[in-house]
């Protein structure tokens, strides 16, 4: 187990919900932020507030340096080759939209195919669908197996000389499935397709090395890795970024502006128009320091201990069916209860102070594939405990007692 003192970094875990101490099992939706990240952002707003890039004065220069420092921390964290390959965006959704708009519109040709998978959430479906409508590409969808694993053979068969880009999730938010991303990158790159990985559920849970993966793009959000909301990262290979046009235009991303013509700055500034989420970027830097001190491997082991325990305990419950039993999983467990709708289950758990997600998890096509309208999803993080899983199990029994 991780040091139990870790919970002290997260005062929100002492929150009382419906007369019970909060049991927070919705870490896939968002994670809690450690005190040191909150304090770092408060310190910035209290004593260091200034914008970046503009000021000749000290505070602005310092703010610029803090943001640059975060860029370097992210670079090291995911092992990018250069810090200019790290673009700050709002989050994973914006990162994928940026690639669809800028890379998709200008690098993909009409008639080319984009391959996604059945387990994608809406953020990794809809931007590609829109690109296909606007640009005359075709969206292909690789199937999954009933156990929630990607059908890798079918996925490979879906790649041909006409495939321009493949986009897939590193870890499924709805099922917890961890995809064989290295094998997938190797295969797609050998076939000449560009690769985008949605890493929203992977970063901070699994070690990510973008150079080893050799993916072209990797997207993730700070708020799902114990950082603040409002900032995320798009990693892109520098050579690609330099040939991509801006996604949005305005200040901070230009080289020279006249009323006749504008030339654009080099990456990453080209993709970061306007004033960025400065405090959030600084908070993200502090988050990475925090994660590095704990160690991603330690987090991985702790979360997998919780996952394995939860699997064993939930399987003992009569009338409960786990949705998604891939061999390789992250600490996310989706399930349904016979004859009990997930929303009723969610409400009853809430009255016991247990926060889970119920619904389609922004993955409606996946729910349709699995023939369930919705699931109950518990997802674990570094601060969760075995006792909290016991509380979940007791909560599920209470649901059955009330509803059956």
């Amino acid at each position: 187990m991780l040091n139990p003192n870790i919970r002290k970094q997260f005062p929100v875990l002492n929150h009382i919900e419906n007369e019970h101490t909060l049991v927070y099992l919705d870490n896939t939706a968002t994670t809690h932020k450690p005190l040191r990240v909150i304090e770092r952002m408060t310190q910035f707003y209290t004593h260091q507030n200034a914008t970046v890039h503009r000021g000749i004065y000290g505070l602005s220069q310092a703010a610029t340096e803090y943001c640059d420092a975060t860029r370097k921390k992210v670079q090291t964290f995911i092992n990018a080759k250069r810090n200019e390959e790290i673009i700050f965006v709002k989050g994973t959704t914006e990162a994928i939209n940026l690639v669809a708009e800028s890379f998709g519109t200008f690098q993909l040709k009409k008639g080319q195919e984009i391959l996604i998978t059945e387990m994608e959430h809406h953020a990794n479906i809809v931007p590609w669908q829109q690109l296909c409508i606007k640009h005359g590409c075709t969206l292909q969808v690789a199937p999954i197996h009933d156990n929630g694993e990607l059908n890798l053979e079918a996925w490979k068969a879906g790649i041909n000389e006409n495939t321009g880009l493949v986009a897939f999730t590193h870890v499924s938010n709805a099922l917890g499935t961890t995809n064989p991303v290295q094998e997938m990158c190797d295969y797609a790159k050998a076939a000449g397709a560009a690769v985008l990985i949605d890493g929203a559920q992977a970063v901070s849970h699994i070690k990510v090395d973008v150079q080893a993966l050799n993916c072209d793009f990797y997207a993730f959000s700070a708020h799902k890795m114990h950082g603040p909301t409002g900032v995320g990262v798009l990693y892109g290979k520098y050579d690609l970024l330099t040939i991509m046009p801006p996604y949005q235009t305005g200040g901070d991303m230009i080289d020279v502006v006249s009323f006749e013509k504008t030339t654009f700055a080099a990456p990453p500034a080209r993709f970061e128009p306007g004033t960025p989420a400065i405090a959030a970027i600084i908070g993200l830097g502090e988050t990475i320091d925090f994660l590095n001190e704990i160690g991603i491997d330690n987090i991985f082991h702790h979360e997998h201990k919780l996952l394995n325990y939860a699997h064993i305990k939930l399987k003992e419950i009569k009338g409960l069916r786990i949705i998604g039993e891939a061999k390789e999983k992250n600490a996310i467990i989706s399930f349904v209860l016979d004859t009990i709708h997930p929303h009723d289950a969610g409400t009853i758990l809430d009255t016991l102070g247990i926060a889970v997600r119920v619904g389609h998890h922004c993955a409606q096509p996946l729910m349709e594939r699995l023939e369930v309208p919705a699931t109950i999803r518990a997802s674990f993080s570094m601060y969760n405990t075995l006792e909290e899983i016991d509380s979940l199990v007791a909560g599920i029994k209470k649901i059955q007692e009330i509803m059956l």
């Binding site: 004859t339 709708h341 929303h343 009723d344 409400t347 619904g359 309208p373 919705a374 009330i402 509803m403």
Partner: protein, 149 residues
């Protein structure tokens, strides 16, 4: 009674398990599709009116216990009412699940009073209201679709 017991009254649980008038009605004069895409609750409501009275009501679809039992009890209450009476009942019901209402109004709701506990769960009001908004659409606005999210 705890909050959760006030929400899941026995009558609600019983109607959830055995919803009444839970079928497609081929020969209907009015219908609508009530759908909450975020949570997935999804029902069709069918009404057959002769002159100005409701002869028959049914519903079919899927969703949580609150939405399904709301549909079931609604179909039981509507038969024989005029369209105006049905719409007034709908208004009273929607008032009851969101605010405090007068004892007289509550009395007029009959068995639907079991949904009073929904008021304590703001996130679930949309579940109880869905079939009623579909009813309102079927009898009034006739967009063919209703949503409470």
């Amino acid at each position: 009674m705890s909050r959760i017991q006030r929400l899941y009254e026995d009558m609600i649980l019983e109607h959830n398990k055995k919803p009444r008038n839970f079928c497609v009605m081929e020969n209907h004069s009015h219908s609508s599709h009530g759908k909450n895409p975020l949570c997935g609750d999804d029902y069709y409501v069918y009404i057959n009116c002769s002159e100005s009275h409701i002869d028959n009501v049914s519903f079919i679809g899927q969703g949580c216990a609150i939405s399904k039992s709301s549909g079931s009890l609604m179909t039981e209450m509507l038969k024989g009412l005029s369209i105006q009476e049905a719409l007034a009942l709908k208004d009273s019901f929607l008032d009851m699940v969101s605010t405090d209402i007068s004892p007289e109004k509550k009395k007029s709701l009959g068995n639907l009073k079991v949904f009073e506990g929904v008021k304590e769960f703001p996130a679930r009001v949309k579940c109880a209201a869905l079939v009623w908004r579909a009813l309102e659409d079927a009898l009034g606005t006739q967009h063919g679709v209703a949503c409470t999210e």
